[in-house]
């Protein structure tokens, strides 16, 4: 298939800082009108790849095309066709939302009249019409991020880059941003979304690329990735902690593998082959053994489990990500994006990624 069929193409991108590669053979193909989630731990190269694809950062090797234009050689053509929403709201805090949008519209060369008209439309569309004349510093976190999205949408870009668009937002604001993103996608925009939140990727992405140490180590739909773990899981909560061993033994017999046990929650979980048959067998066995079950669930693996399986690391929780974000800000970082990978941080219990 030729590059022309994709909104974003990256082939063998490498970006070196000193003797470390922030990107080390990064490949990506995103179909027009879809949402691609770029998922990975801190320092994996998510921000670096977004900065390269949005023309902010040069690269050492490889090739990249966005909206049909070469990122390195046709940067201005690319810039007319992309929107970028970074990790912090890149707007003038002192100016009003309206003023910000008019200035950005004029810098997209809409002319003052059209820039004003467009600013009004976008404020309306992102639910900011009433706050349009207030200075941005009076906005809530969610409002700022929506203004940021609006600024990224001035030319209705064919490709929108969202670099951790909901980091640091409360759940309600996060939801507002998700609603806006879905709306943009309906209007035909292709979205490349980086996130550390698996539920965000699960909610928004049609396609997920898991990135680690500067390259994509797995890709597919969220369901594909979950299926790679080899099927569904049965979760059990037993009524009496004394029954944990019996429940675990029963589940082991059906699953053919050692189940996970969490004694505090009286919880046992294992991956099983044939979902319904396995469930029936487990419950029958537990019944025969006289084990009282408080709760039972048959479920797909979560993306968290996929992530752990692929990278050998648990993804950050929201709290950890925020703490890390604050620490980064404290250092006074200046748009450098991801630091080069801080070496392989893989833990000991890494399973090999299935070929």
């Amino acid at each position: 298939m030729t590059a022309g069929n994709y909104a974003i193409v990256a082939e063998g991108l490498r970006k070196r800082y000193g003797d470390r590669y922030a990107l080390d053979g990064f490949d990506l193909q995103v179909r027009p009108g879809s949402v691609c989630g770029l998922l990975g731990p801190n320092g994996a190269g998510k921000t670096t790849s977004v900065r390269i694809l949005s023309t902010l950062l040069g690269f050492d090797e490889g090739r990249a095309e966005v909206a049909g234009f070469d990122v390195a050689r046709q940067a201005d053509q690319v810039r007319y066709r992309i929107g970028l929403v970074g990790q912090n709201a890149a707007v003038d805090e002192v100016l009003s939302g309206y003023q910000n949008l008019v200035i950005f519209g004029r810098l997209f060369h809409l002319g003052t009249k059209h820039a004003r008209q467009r600013a009004g439309e976008l404020l309306e569309r992102f639910g900011l019409a009433e706050a349009g004349d207030k200075p941005v510093k009076a906005y809530s976190g969610g409002m700022r991020r929506r203004l940021d999205l609006a600024a990224g949408m001035i030319l209705t870009p064919s490709v929108l880059f969202l670099d951790e668009p909901t980091t640091g937002l409360d759940p309600r604001s996060r939801n507002e941003v998700w609603v806006s993103v879905r709306e943009l996608v309906r209007s035909g925009t292709t979205v490349l979304l980086t996130t550390q939140y698996l539920d965000e990727a699960d909610q928004l992405a049609d396609q997920i690329s898991v990135i680690d140490t500067g390259k994509v180590i797995a890709e597919g739909t969220p369901d594909d990735l979950k299926a790679r773990l080899g099927g569904d899981r049965i979760d059990l909560v037993v009524h009496d902690a004394a029954d944990l061993a019996a429940a675990s033994a029963q589940l082991r017999q059906v699953a053919g593998a050692e189940p996970e046990v969490d004694a505090d929650r009286r919880f046992v979980s294992a991956q099983v082959g044939h979902r319904a048959a396995a469930l029936t067998e487990v419950l029958r066995g537990l019944d025969a053994a006289g084990v009282a079950v408080e709760d039972v669930a048959l479920r797909r693996p979560t993306l968290d489990e996929v992530f752990l399986h692929l990278t050998g690391r648990r993804p950050q929780t929201v709290e950890e990500a925020e703490a890390a974000g604050k620490a980064k800000k404290g250092k006074g970082k200046k748009g450098k994006g991801d630091e080069p990978n801080a070496g392989p941080a893989r833990s000991e219990n890494v399973e090999e990624v299935p070929a």
């Binding site: 949005s54 023309t55 902010l56 950062l57 040069g58 909206a67 049909g68 201005d76 053509q77 810039r79 007319y80 066709r81 992309i82 970028l84 970074g86 990790q87 912090n88 709201a89 890149a90 707007v91 003038d92 805090e93 002192v94 100016l95 009003s96 003023q99 200035i103 950005f104 004029r106 810098l107 997209f108 060369h109 809409l110 002319g111 059209h114 467009r118 200075p135 600024a151 001035i154 030319l155 209705t156 870009p157 064919s158 006074g332 970082k333 200046k334 748009g335």
Partner: protein, 277 residues
């Protein structure tokens, strides 16, 4: 502005023009002016600080200082103050550049089809406009405390031209510092630079009274060149001296700013471009 849709534009409903250094620079200058209209606090504080400096020197220290040739202390003081306020403008420039970088505004501009020099030129033009306002306020303050220009109209205008030329050079120093330093560190760094640059000069004290090597630095300070030159042009009292720099203040008042611009403008441009590394 010519309207043209580029081939394959994602949004045929939106018609846009092409990048233009002039147009983009004007837009970004207007952005800074709008910013100041909304938030005039720091500018008012800066003007207030300068006025307080004038009053302090005129009324507090004035009595204790001996004026060369026995002239009026305030006549001696004001040329130094005019030039000092240009130096104190550096941190305003640095802070603005650094804030845009920190908040991601610079990245947004760089991801847009904006002429790469426009953000720097917009900054420089806005800061020059504020320098004119600052100078006007200082002129009034000077007149109020009894300072007068005794030269002709041409000399007086030339003097103000030299002051603004110095500011123009320092704008590029400020832009460069804003691009290389980070956040609060930038402001602190620049303020530590403003004071030695300001006081290690002929603005308030005679370089002849300083230890030899320090005096030489003071005489060759770009600020001293401007202050010495405008004292001559205004017909205000000043320090004499034997060094070449002192004998040629007017020449140096033109050469120094040009040298600074020739160094710091290209450095700023290349630093801005290398943000993509």
């Amino acid at each position: 502005m010519t309207s043209a849709t580029l081939p394959g534009t994602a949004s045929p409903d939106v018609v846009h023009g092409r990048p233009s250094l002039l147009g983009d620079s004007i837009t970004l200058t207007q952005r800074s002016l709008a910013h100041w209209r909304r938030n005039p606090g720091p500018l008012i504080a800066s003007l207030g600080f300068n006025i307080v400096m004038v009053l302090m020197f005129a009324y507090l220290f004035g009595g204790a200082l001996q004026v060369p040739g026995g002239g009026s202390y305030r006549e001696f003081l004001m040329p130094g103050m005019f030039a000092m306020t240009m130096v104190f403008g550096i941190s305003l420039t640095t802070l603005a550049v650094s804030a845009d970088l920190d908040r991601g505004v610079t990245d947004r501009l760089r991801s847009m089809p904006v002429s790469p020099l426009a953000p720097l030129i917009g900054r420089a033009v806005a800061d020059m406009l504020f320098a004119v306002v600052t100078l006007a306020v200082m002129l009034l303050a000077g007149l109020a405390v009894g300072w007068r220009a005794h030269g002709g109209v041409g000399d007086t205008l030339a003097a103000f031209g030299l002051i603004l030329l110095l500011r123009f050079a320092l704008v590029w120093v400020g832009i460069f510092l804003g691009l290389v330093m980070k956040g609060q560190e930038a402001v602190a760094g620049v303020q530590t630079l403003e004071f030695p640059l300001g006081f290690l000069s002929n603005a308030f004290v005679s370089p002849a009274t300083m230890p030899g090597w320090l005096g030489a630095i003071a005489e060759w300070n770009p600020l001293s060149a401007t202050v010495g030159a405008i004292r001559e042009l205004f017909g205000n009292p000043g320090w004499g001296g034997d060094s070449w720099a002192v004998q040629h203040y007017p020449t140096m008042a033109v050469i120094w700013p040009i040298v600074l611009v020739v160094i710091f403008l290209p450095l700023s441009m290349s630093k801005y471009r290398s943000l993509s590394r």
